[in-house]
């Protein structure tokens, strides 16, 4: 029941984001989504126990898959060269949605191919509805989830670090569903 609701919310959020600023990124998604779709029938593969990080680490994403997709990425890659995309989360969740995984996949591409020497700080953020103290831990979980996934995609862990800002640095200070969805995020910041 709860999982169902979560899935729905996730779907809604995903739809919202697609409808918003992420439209052009969406074009890449179907191709990438295909090989990964098998283990995840819903965008949020998250029954309650899935809050451990195992499911993410166990995600069957192979180096080969990454490489196979590479040419397509290259085509659209020109302008997005330095732009690592941020990922978004459901409320009170640190589970990576399919869309978040797709985004991290593109980020990993950039980090492996175009910025192979860069170091990246993964900044976890939360929306203002959560409690400030709890959000510090939640933001950390989000950043760690993103980092773990990048590592499974082949980005060396030594190049990655995490920091949680809880709800201290909202992207959008408005008190709306739209702003909250934007603020529940992990930013990838090149530090070196």
């Amino acid at each position: 029941m709860r999982t169902g609701t979560r899935g729905l919310v996730a779907l809604l959020c995903a739809t919202l984001m697609v409808a918003g600023g992420c439209a052009k990124k969406e074009m890449v998604k179907p191709e990438e989504g295909a090989p990964m779709a098998a283990p995840t029938p819903t965008p949020a593969p998250a029954p309650a126990p899935a809050k451990t990080e195992e499911p993410m680490a166990a995600q069957p994403v192979s180096e080969a898959a990454v490489k196979a997709e590479a040419p397509q990425e290259g085509v659209k890659g020109e302008e997005a060269e330095a732009a690592l995309e941020r990922i978004y989360f459901d409320f009170d969740s640190y589970v990576l949605s399919q869309q978040a995984r797709d985004t991290l996949y593109r980020d990993a591409e950039i980090l492996l191919k175009k910025q192979p020497a860069s170091k990246v700080s993964l900044e976890g953020h939360c929306d203002e509805r959560g409690s400030d103290e709890y959000n510090l831990a939640l933001g950390e979980k989000r950043a760690k989830a993103a980092m773990d996934y990048l590592v499974t995609l082949g980005v060396p862990a030594e190049r990655l670090s995490t920091i949680s800002y809880g709800k201290e640095k909202p992207l959008d200070p408005a008190h709306t569903e739209e702003a909250w969805a934007k603020n529940r995020r992990v930013e990838l910041i090149i530090v070196k």
């Binding site: 409690s131 103290e133 709890y134």
Partner: protein, 430 residues
């Protein structure tokens, strides 16, 4: 002792002029009894007893009235009409007009201003018995006026109830009034705001040591949420936990020797206890879920904390060695920010439901009660006597610091200005 005095820039001369206190307390046991008919307390206008003129002296009475109103034990009478020339000592004035006005307890005060030295003399009377209950005299500088008055407010509560008031205490809090989130200190009623940190970063979650001389707090000044300890009197600071990941929600143990906090150095947020210098460390929780926000019981034997190990953040209690974890809250889908009352019987916390609301629950899980309802209210922290709770609220549009009685009555905004003030914590008695 010397440090304390320097810190407050105040020399207090306490003169117990009449040693009739024990009797007085017995007489007034009835005062604290809850009932429909609260006693009426009046504070007479301050009288000049000598020295120079002091136009600002009326503030002494205003402070006393405000403190006594928040105390909630009495009906505080409106300021009386201009007074006669009578004095403040026993035999120097007539009780009859006060009795006639329905006043049960009367505070009289007088002052002498000599240079910058303000001496204030206070007398508390039982009007019906025509008897003096308490008399004190304090000296300080002119600018210590409010502190002197708060001190007598604390005395009044001690005299009438046996438990000293918390009105001389300060509230440490976080504010963005300097654009960044820095730590500030103010009187409990919002006066005398002092900026503590100036590191231009994000500073969070101040918590006083049991002596009130130090704070721990989390700061991002070195691009990681690390835990710092600060000596209030000198401003000296030391980074005491700078482990990789979060070093947050530090809470000083009641004996002052340890600090409980949440660290994510081992992969996810867990509760640890470290020594006050940060060198020794003991891990208390071991769970893949989020564990955060430890809060000590006043006897130091138990720790309440927040965990989402069952899917959503809820309050749990464990023994101080990490054993015997049990769930505390069973209502509500999102309960956080626990703080144990100084008496040990109750735990204040906040629950998410249309923003946050502040609740109290007995330590055995019974008596779960909502205290706030207007706006979003977060971060409850008890006054050292357990009578009051300070918290932050968005009810006036921004975010400001409030105080209320422990039963949720008397909710009063204390921080001023349009900036966002949050994370209040009430100092121990100095």
């Amino acid at each position: 002792m010397i440090t304390k005095r320097t810190f407050f820039l105040l020399t207090i001369v306490v003169a117990l002029l009449f040693p009739s206190l024990p009797q007085a307390q017995e007489t007034y046991r009835e005062v604290t009894a809850a009932g429909a008919n609260k006693l009426t307390l009046a504070v007479d206008s301050p009288r000049r007893l000598g020295g120079g003129d002091f136009p600002g002296a009326g503030e002494i009475a205003e402070v006393l009235r405000a403190d006594m109103t928040l105390a909630g034990l009495f009906t505080v009478a409106a300021p009386a009409a201009p007074v006669t020339a009578a004095g403040i000592r026993p035999g120097e004035f007539d009780f009859a007009p006060w009795r006639g006005a329905g006043v049960d307890l009367l505070v009289k005060c007088g002052y002498t201003l000599s240079g910058d030295t303000l001496t204030a003399e206070f007398r508390l009377y039982n009007v019906n018995q025509g008897r003096e209950v308490l008399a004190k005299r304090y000296s300080g500088r002119q600018r210590d006026l409010r502190k002197i008055a708060h001190t007598f407010s604390d005395d009044i509560l001690e005299s009438l109830t046996g438990e000293r008031g918390p009105f001389t205490g300060k509230i440490a809090f976080v504010s963005n009034r300097s654009r960044n989130k820095e730590l500030y200190l103010m009187d409990y009623d919002g006066y005398h705001v002092q900026q503590l940190t100036r590191n231009g970063s994000i500073n969070l979650n101040p918590d006083f040591s049991p002596t009130g001389r130090e704070l721990v707090y989390t700061s991002y000044r070195r691009r990681n949420p690390d835990l710092y300890r600060r000596v209030l009197a000198t401003g000296a600071e030391a980074a005491i936990s700078t482990r990789r990941g979060i070093n947050v929600t530090g809470a000083w143990s009641p004996d002052g020797k340890q600090i409980a906090l949440a660290l994510s150095k081992d992969g996810n947020s867990e509760i640890y206890v470290i020594s006050r210098d940060g060198r020794q460390m003991k891990r208390l929780t071991n769970n893949p879920a989020i564990d955060v926000s430890p809060a000590w019981s006043p006897d130091g034997k138990q720790i309440a904390f927040v965990s989402d190990r069952l899917g959503k953040p809820q309050l749990f209690i464990m023994n101080a060695d990490g054993s015997g974890v049990r769930r505390l809250t069973t209502n509500g889908a999102y309960n956080v920010s626990p703080r144990w009352s100084p008496k040990g019987d109750r735990i204040a916390y906040c629950r998410q439901e249309r923003g946050f609301q502040i609740y109290v629950i007995n330590a055995d899980g019974s008596g779960d009660t909502r205290l706030t309802g207007e706006g979003s209210n977060e971060h409850p922290r008890w006054s050292p006597d357990g009578r009051f709770i300070t918290f932050s609220s968005t009810r006036d549009g921004g975010e400001a610091i409030y105080v209320m009685r422990a039963d949720g009555s008397g909710q009063t905004r204390v921080s001023r200005g349009a900036r966002k003030d949050s994370h209040p914590t009430w100092s121990p008695r100095w």
